[in-house]
Symmetry: C2
Subunit: 274 residues, 2 copies
């Protein structure tokens, strides 16, 4: 099937419109898409350039591109409205309805989403990020009283990406503590973790997937052997069960799914800090 | 003004609906919002529970909540349609138009966005994340030939969060190399960076903001002194200019803005890997 070109056009970073478009396009698995993001289209001149590019693509491919737009400034969007593509504008679709409901005009100002209007929330995002980096892989455990959640599990079960994602997305203070062979052999919760049992959440994964990940990282040695991987995972799951630590199998989960599940089950509030 | 409650409801992680709703709400700066995300509403029973919660909020506050939804499964959304709130559904608003344009039915399957359907793109995201962590703060420089971009700048100018964001969001291989006093004194590009000049992007920041950030981290010593901060920043900017390294002032930029600007200017393609 011919590839369909999709443009994400914004007068800001384009992050919102990419997210929207991506979420919709994943519902069409029989179509091949060629995705192009054009951010910072904040002048009439730039809007005309993108319009020409869209029209050129349309005539070259013989297929109208799909054009997702989010323009805070209506006047800049104008040239795009007459382009030879299916234009889907995110703000237009919803803003009027919300204005009516709130009996309040929208401000139509740039840099609100994914900008740095709110220094407090921006700072707390960076603080959370520093916390995740400092507390990665059990590096510093002194600050665990500040943690919203402490993830634990064997090496390469998905702890680090999940912690960093929670920090960047929600400003959540997430630490992670690796379960090493020493911990697992004694079948006891590491002393460091005992006072923070309520904050613990376990990560497990299938032995096959874990081997695959570990092999990709260090291809030799016991670390990625079937025996070792089985042993560690069995011991970790026993530890979670014995100490009533909730846990999730990350084998078929994306980072977003792991993070959403953990926050949901632990009742940790999440607020986007974009 | 009375606070307006906003629900983000999804049969999946809720990440898309949060991002989109957030982007719209930031345009209403005169209204206070109370934000509640309810993910994984994947059964009629759960949908009825949320509907009751929305109705309770409406009657208690005397204000209809705004309800952003993204339901892949239409039948699960049904109860919400009769709730006492302004329901704005992202899929409904755009899917039909796209179906018509593509002459293709959407699949209405769960776990497409923010799921793990595509193992290849998921793996490349984790690879990029590992790369960012391994290559953070100049730790390993051997793999710079694999980097899409190498950020450089003084300590706390915003390198690490930007690298990690690029990895998580787009699977981009971003390394960062700190400019230390030793590098800056000699006013030469560090030897390690010379072969990779084309991949370099500089980060700078205002002395006031840098002091503020450094004070928040280590409150004592020369590191956060006005003199030291001024000296480092002046030397770093001179280095960027002398070696024709493009750079961005991150003082008033969010992580998304820094990342979007760099990728845009360097012509690095970005594809969401959610």
């Amino acid at each position: 099937m011919a590839e369909r070109t999709v443009f994400f056009v914004s007068d800001q970073t384009g992050v919102t419109v990419e997210t929207l478009g991506h979420s919709l396009l994943t519902q069409f698995d029989k179509v091949e898409f060629n995705l192009i993001t054009v951010p910072f289209v904040d002048s009439l001149g730039k809007a005309e350039q993108v319009t020409e590019r869209i029209n050129r693509t349309a005539s070259q491919s013989g297929l109208r591109p799909i054009v997702f737009t989010s323009f805070v400034q209506d006047e800049v969007r104008a040239p795009l409205l007459s382009c030879n593509g299916l234009v889907l504008d995110f703000f237009e679709a919803f803003l009027t309805k919300i204005e009516k409901e709130l009996k309040s005009q929208s401000s139509h100002t740039l840099g609100k989403a994914h900008g740095m209007q709110d220094t407090t929330s921006y700072n707390s995002r960076i603080d959370a990020m520093n916390f995740a980096m400092d507390a990665d892989d059990g590096r510093t455990t002194q600050q665990y009283d500040r943690a919203d959640v402490i993830m634990t599990g064997v090496s390469r079960s998905g702890k680090t990406p999940t912690c960093v994602y929670m920090a960047l997305q929600y400003g959540i203070f997430a630490a992670n503590y690796p379960l090493t062979e020493d911990n697992l052999e004694v079948d006891q919760l590491p002393d460091t973790l005992v006072p923070f049992r309520e904050k613990l959440y376990g990560l497990t994964i299938s032995p096959e997937r874990l081997r695959q990940i570990r092999l990709g990282r260090w291809s030799v040695g016991r670390y990625a052997s079937a025996e070792q991987v089985n042993l560690e995972l069995r011991a970790a799951e026993m530890l979670f069960k014995r100490h009533n630590i909730p846990y999730i199998d990350t084998t078929h989960c994306s980072i977003e799914e792991i993070a959403s599940t953990i926050l949901n089950e632990m009742g940790v509030e999440r607020h986007l800090l974009l």
